[in-house]
Amino acid sequence: MLPAFVYWLFRYRRTWQSTAVVSIANPLLFLLAIGAGLGTLVQGDVEGVPYLRFLAPGVLAAAAFQNAFIDAGFGVATARGRERVYQTAIATPLSPGEVMAGHLLFVGLRVFVGALAFVVVMACFGLFSSFGTALAVLLAATLTGIAPATVVAAWAVTVTDFPRLNTVFRFVVMPMYLFSGTFFSVEQLPDPLQSLMYALPLWHGADLCRSLALGTATLGTTTLHIAYLGALAVAGVLIGRVTFRKVLYV
């Protein structure tokens, strides 16, 4: 296994319990408060299903997206900055590309574990018709997180002032979190905004998760979503190979 990934597993041994609690509590609170609580105010069905069924896969995708940004953004910037994890690793035979790959694998693992906890909570609410559906949604949510994570990591390794990460989180990640078809259908948005959302990754992730969860997925749109997110992930890795090398081999 990649040593740069094993390093993060050693770190994870210290923190997994506390992060696991958050991973379960977060969806539980969300689905209870908004789905079952606020959701009772929603008159009738949304896109033909009760609001909780509509909401849950959207929030799952948005949570995966947000977790990925936090881990890949703040995690990478800290590893390069204050903690100097990367500088330590590249003094050995490891290359900047391997150091990046190890960290991205770990971000992927964290996104997967977070999505798994979410999917388990959704299952407890009886939101899946079969095990296969739950598995498909889990994989879709993981892809929704990994795709932007590679791009964010490629950028974050160049960031030396933390406030910039916060700014992007507040003005890019949060609006996407709210408007990408997470809480309501993108079709309710006025047109320029609607087209913008279709172009952004979280809408693809949310629609992929939702259509799989509700059994409305078609081969065409599913392929489109996966291709979009896959291409984004690959692009991030390619850019990251350049930025990691540039930053670490000064």
């Binding site: 040593p3 740069a4 210290r14 994890v85 003094a91 050995t92 035979p93």
Partner: protein, 305 residues
Amino acid sequence: MALIEAQGLEKRYPGTDVKAVAGIGFQVERGEAFGFLGPNGAGKSSTMRMLACVSRPSGGTLRILDRDPVSHGRELRARLGVVPQDDALDLQLTVRENLIVYGLYFGLSLTHMRAKSAELLEFAQLAEKAGERVEHLSGGMRRRLTIARSLVNDPDILLLDEPTTGLDPQARHILWDRLFRLKSAGVTLILTTHYMDEAEQLCDRLVIMDKGLIADEGTPRELIERHVTREVLELRFPPGEQEAAGEKLGGDVEVLPDRLLCYADDGDAVLGRVTELGLHPLTALVRRATLEDVFLRLTGRSLTD
């Protein structure tokens, strides 16, 4: 065949015109302790990064173990040990885990690293701290752990960037003792420092760096003999009287903002002349010349600037 050979070596960082390293040449032989002495900003750390094969030279040639550090970086790094200036240990992991993970980076197995880490912790006098988080270690202990970490791959060359900066005197002596042992075991040591006593204690040979260039090279003794006299008389006068006293005394005198340095083979004789001239220094001290005096002679500035 020298272990390391540099000729006209340069480093210029992107976006600047200033050369951090402006064309230096040196050789390091197997088994010796070689030092780079100079103030902050002299280009020592930039040179060390190029030697560690993580920074591409901007000009000149560099050969390490008869290979090119850019094209054979991975292979070379496998044979180097690096002790960075800031330790860069993982504070959240335990002492032992820091060593194990680092060993894995070199492709060593977990089984091997379990045994190896015990041996290294013994060497670093940290055996009883093995299970503790690095967070709880003192500065001296962290430094020793960083040195232990740099030895996981039994390196041919050990690069130490300011190994004792920020340590108290006792911790420094413990560390020097460990470095002596490594040297006796045949490890080639390359270190940077801005402490004269450290350079005199540890280095067989050293170069004095200033503004990206090498001012001179030799053994500590050679450098002292070449540039300064055997003894130095240090005199302090009340503020403002330094210059006048220096002129009156004449001879081989360096006037510093806070004191006068009189170079002589017999310091006491000069002190006698001071009294004869009717000068009344606040303090007077005769001492042996050090590398600091050499540096001052070569650059006109003191090392601690």
